[in-house]
Structure formats: structure tokens, C-alpha cells
Amino acid sequence: MPSEQDLSADVVIVGSGVAGSSIANELARAGISVIVLEAGPRVDRQHFVENFRNLENKPSYQGPFPSVPWAIHPPNQMTPNDYLHTTGPDAEAYQQVYLRMMGGTTWHWAGCAWRYLPSDFELKTRYGQGRDWAVKYEDLEPFYYQAEVMMGVCGPDPAVEDLGSPRRQPYPMEALPISYAAQQFRKLVSEKTPYRVVHEPQARNTRPYDNRPTCEGHNNCMPICPIGAMYNGSYSVYHAEAAGAHFVPNAVVYKIERDSANKRVTAVHYYDPDKGSHRVTGKYFVIAAHCIETAKLLLVSADEQSPDGIANSSGHVGRNMMDHTGVQVTFISGDKALWPGRGPLETNVIDNFRDGTWRNERGAYLVHMVDDNQVDLATSLAISKGYVGRELEEQIRYLASHTVRLFSHNEGLADPDNRLTLSQTHKDVLGIPHPEVYYKLPEYTVKSCEHTRGLFRELIGLMHGTDEQWTPGYFPQDHPAGSTIMGTDPRDSVVDGFCRTHDHENLFIASSAVFSSVGTGNITLTVAALALRVADTLKKELAHA
């Protein structure tokens, strides 16, 4: 049932995460009217912090963020799953988690703010693998910097530590001093291997920035920074609202309406939690609803004009699902105490395998030595070993101070057969189908993971490690990409280099959904840079309208 009063704005954005909220902020500051429709609720940070403290399974990144019935998100990485249904030979490797809430999934990210390498945009041209983007690194460089300023990114001086992505400006903040544990790891790698450990660029304050405090090292970037020293999408929401953007929580978009020629989008329709339907009109529309939900929405909106879904004349909506696949091992170092868990979670990376000529046959990767407080894990482990009393306390101290966790981001590859479709068997309370993803790991990624395991074994040996616990199989790093892939040819891609859909001239997609390759660095900074480029395009076009 339509609402009595329709909403309207120059630009209508679906999704309030980093992409949607940063576009809203840019446009609202330029005097453009903006409505942002967010499927999930608005919840404040302190509520999430309290949820975390009361959570028994502390490593559960989704735990502090229970979803609402009208906007469910995956409750965990278990297969089978209550929401994201994965199938295929490597179903468990694509069991992503993400959040449907005001501010988006960066409520629980680690703030890792990598720029992609120039080669990541030219994988096909340089290495004969995967696909090229329809945009080059140089095109995105100014927007990378704009995103770094928006988030507040700290990073190393390129003259001292070149991370491989050329910069015209220094990082907005100086690099975060790495922990004692990371210092020891860096020293070992430097002295005993041909590799190097670099400072990870992070959207984390090393000084007061954007009215947010300096990081105090609560070691809880994931699932929730308790003080907001780390950027997340909620800050762009607050800035955008202050500039006049209108955010509507609990607004589940389910239909994208077009004109009779099927060339322009005219409105989106959303359900409120009681399934009351509302229509929102605009001049431009941006779908910024996360890789999985964006493709789902385009497919759900199928109608007589577009029986295969919106923006899907290529048939590539929902295809080319990619991720960073992870290899992970936890072990007990036989060397001096490291006491991980002092400071932020992820601060240092082995970056030697982010690029190389071998990328013509196996995927790139990077390695984190995770600086994670291991006291809880050590306690569970020591109890399971049968210790009690004084001996238990000795074990907890030893294990907590010597546990090392390594994990990798291994490069996925666009394969049209890795595909998101609408579930035929599961629907939510509003009658909207759940997403389903078929996934088979590309051989390119499998070979990359094999190489990583070799490196991990080498590092375990150097640290005189024992009690190795390898995470079985392959696990997702929750960096999904590719579901509305970018390209120059409308026959095999969904958006062009400006993230505009080939099929509908006023419909843009701001999400990792547009990525043509997935590289190795965390995806968020590139999502933000692409989104800010969308905002730039919209500002120019609306100025001329």
C-alpha cells in the first residue's frame, strides 16, 4: 500500500555504509538534496560495546550486532547459514558476514586502509589472468587521497616505506607505532628471511582527528572500537546529516522503477518493518548496499521490462563473486614472550607477495601477524588440557604471551560461474528471497593458498612454534566483490569506469560489487575512493542539469 506522502530528492541512495554515507556527505555539502534509505536500524556505539562485553563467544564479529527481522544479515560464518546460503564445492569459503545497519559493515572492520596497486587494475593486461578494470590507478589516485582524508588514515612515509601505490600527498597522519610483538616479528622476518614487514595503513587516529580521539589500544577494532578512534561509516552518516542529508532507517528497498524506455530509473520502493510500501523519487540513484545486497536488490527488482533483473542486460549481475580467501594458523612461539593484544588488532603486514611476475599463474596475497589479545583463547586451551589451580594460571600466562596468529588475504579471480542468485526456498518476513551463492575456489587462489602455507610453515619454524592449529580448509575474509562487475564492454559487465550502469543512465553502483579484480589489500578504501568518484560525477552532472 503506497504511503500518502512520497519522498523525493535529487539523489536517492540505497545503503548507509561507507559508500552511501560518504556520497551523501559530499552531495549534501554541495547543496544537493539527498535521501539515504537504510534497511537496518540506527544503533549507537555504546549499545554495541555493551553487547560485546556480554558476549560469551568474544571472537564472534557478528555477535554484538544482532539483526532485525526485516533486514537480516548472516548471523555467523556457519554453513549452512540462516541467511546467506552458500553452495558448490567451496561453499564454506564464501560464507561471508556483513551488517545491515546504519553505518554499515565498518562497525566491525580493523581499519586496514590499503590502496590497491596499479597492477591490480590491469591483471589481464599484465598477467593474462582475470579482468582489467575500466579505470586505472592514476584515475583513482586523487579519490584515494580524498578517502584517506575523509577517514583519517595513518601510514608510513613513502620515502621510508614504499607500499607500492604511488602517492602525490603524504598520509593524513603519521604511521601508528607498532606493538612490541609486531616489533619482534618484524625483526625476525627482517633478519632471517628475504621478506619485510611494513606498517599497515589504517583509518585510525594517531592524533586527535575529525573530533575523534587518538587510539588507546583497546584491541577491539573488531568487533567494535569502544571510543571511535577508528573511522567507521557512522561518522560519514553524522557528517552527512549535519550537512542536510536525510537518512531513513528501517527502509528495505525492494523495487527499482524505470521509465517506459527502461533507460532511466524513476523511483525506488521500500518496505517499512510493517511492510508498508513507500515510493521515493529522484533524479539520480545510487545502490550502495554492499556487494551481496546490491546484486540481490537488482535481481529482486526483475519485472516484465527487465525479466533478468535491473541493469542486467549482460547477464552478469550476481556473477564473478570474488573474495580474499584466508589461510590461518595459530601456534605457540618457543621464543620470548610477545604478549599480543597490546594495541590495535592489525598493524603490520608482510607485503612481498602482493605482486610479482608469478601472478600469471597464482594469486597474490598479504600476511597479517594479528595482534590479538589471546588471554581468553589461552584460558580455554589450558582448561581443555586439564590444568587447574596454580598450574592453570601459569599456563594461561604462558599461552597468552606466546600465542601467534597468522592469516592471509589470497587473491580471488572473476569467474562468471561463481554466482549469486535468489534463494528458491528461503524468504525473509517481508517476502524477499535470501541470497544464495555458488562458489568454487579458482585454481589461481588455491595455488596462492598453497604458497602461503609454505611461508607460514617457514615462519613457524623460525619462531620455534608448537601446537599448530590450522583453520581447516579455506575461509572467507568477508571482502566480497564482483557481483556487478565493471568493464568497458556492456556485453560482459554491469557498470562502466564511473560506476554507472550500462543499462540505466542515472543509476550508479557504489560498492565492492563493481571490482573487476580483488587484489590483496582490504577493500574498504577502494570502495570509498570509487564512491567519492561517483559523488564527483553526480556533482558535475547536477551542476549542468
Binding site: 610477545l338 604478549w339 580455554s380 582448561i383 598450574e391
Partner: protein
């Protein structure tokens, strides 16, 4: 009620969101003439009769649980309020534990066990079910968890014994960049386990 006094700082809860909400609620109740009397009555009841007092009087196993816990942690002093909350959680999850804890205490009282290890080892030897009971008691005190729920977070003993090196997540207080400093060294432990080992399962994230 002197025996029930917490051995942790009495104001430790004041920083928690629950406590802040409670303080707000209490301020509101004072301002509200209608609800004020009711609020005061609840506060007065809480002050003179903590919620567990009636149960403790009714359940003689409560002090036995504390006594067994002291032996199994090799500690002379444990917080009786936390003890009661852990006991309640363990019993709620599995009512049979009440009798088993009683029997574990009987076993302890029947001999002279100079250490946690001595008691735990003898207990498992006498009845394998005691291994599970002891696991739950250890999990309660050291992880702060019973019945798969957080009973205490910051007050879990695992943080007490590591407080010279790390903070419980979300409660860091070392100042910016404290993490660059050298933490304490830890010697390789020499003690032996008391119980047979169990499979260790890492819960999914």
C-alpha cells in the same frame, strides 16, 4: 553481610553501561514523585538483601561451591557474589551439577588435598563426571562464563593474572602507544595437568 563483601573495588561497576543506565534510572525515579517511593523501596530492598541472599539460605551447596572453588583455584579468597552467580549459572544449565558439586565437596572434605591438582586428579579418578564439573568451575572463575553466558567480564580471573601485561578488550588504560613498551617475560611452565585432556574446539566467528 560482611562475608559477602566483594574483594574487588566496590566502584568497579560504576563505569559499566549497565551501571550508567541504572544511575540514570535512579535519578529519574527521584525526580518522579509517583514512582519515587517505589524506586526507593526497590533500592532499599536491594541494599539490605542482595538478590542471592534468600537462595543462599535455602541452598546449602552455595558455600560448598565456594569452598571447592577456593581449592580448585589454589586461592584463599574468592568473591562470594561472583561465586554465587557462577553456581547459579552452572546449576541452571544442568541441575544435576548441584548434587555433583556436593559430592565433590564431600570428597574434598574426606581427604587432605594440598593443591587444586591433587583434588582434581583424585576427583576424576573417583568419578569421570567430576572432570566436567571441574571444567565448568574453571571456566566460570577464569573465563567468567557459566551457562554459556558472561557472568563477569573484567573480573574474570584470567585478566587478574595477566593484568601486568594486557587489558581486557575495550578497557585499555595505558595511554596512547603503551603497546610499544616491553612486556614482562614469562618462564616456561613446569606444572603438570591434573585432568585428562579434552578436545579443544574453537568456536566459529
Amino acid at each position: 553481610m560482611a562475608a559477602d563483601r566483594s574483594c574487588f573495588p566496590t566502584n568497579i561497576h560504576l563505569a559499566s553501561p549497565n551501571a550508567m543506565r541504572m544511575r540514570r534510572a535512579l535519578r529519574m525515579s527521584r525526580r518522579d514523585m509517583l514512582l519515587g517511593a517505589m524506586g526507593a523501596a526497590v533500592v532499599a530492598l536491594g541494599a539490605s538483601r542482595p538478590g542471592f541472599a534468600a537462595t543462599e539460605e535455602a541452598d546449602p551447596v552455595v558455600p560448598l561451591f565456594l569452598a571447592v572453588s577456593q581449592r580448585l583455584t589454589d586461592r584463599d579468597v574468592l568473591d562470594p557474589q561472583i561465586s554465587h552467580a557462577l553456581y547459579a549459572g552452572i546449576i541452571h544449565a544442568n541441575p544435576e551439577r548441584r548434587e555433583q558439586i556436593h559430592k565433590l565437596h564431600d570428597l574434598m572434605a574426606s581427604g587432605s588435598f594440598a593443591s587444586a591438582r591433587a583434588l582434581a586428579s583424585a576427583a576424576e579418578h573417583s568419578d569421570p563426571v567430576f572432570k566436567d564439573v571441574i571444567h565448568e568451575i574453571m571456566t566460570g572463575w577464569y573465563r567468567g562464563v557459566a551457562d554459556q553466558k558472561v557472568v563477569v567480564y573484567r573480573s574474570a580471573l584470567m585478566f587478574d593474572i595477566t593484568k601486568d601485561a594486557v587489558y581486557p578488550k575495550t578497557y585499555a588504560a595505558g595511554g596512547p602507544f603503551y603497546w610499544t613498551q616491553t612486556p614482562p617475560e614469562v618462564a616456561v611452565p613446569t606444572g603438570e595437568p591434573a585432568l585428562s585432556p579434552s578436545k579443544f574446539v574453537v568456536e566459529p566467528t
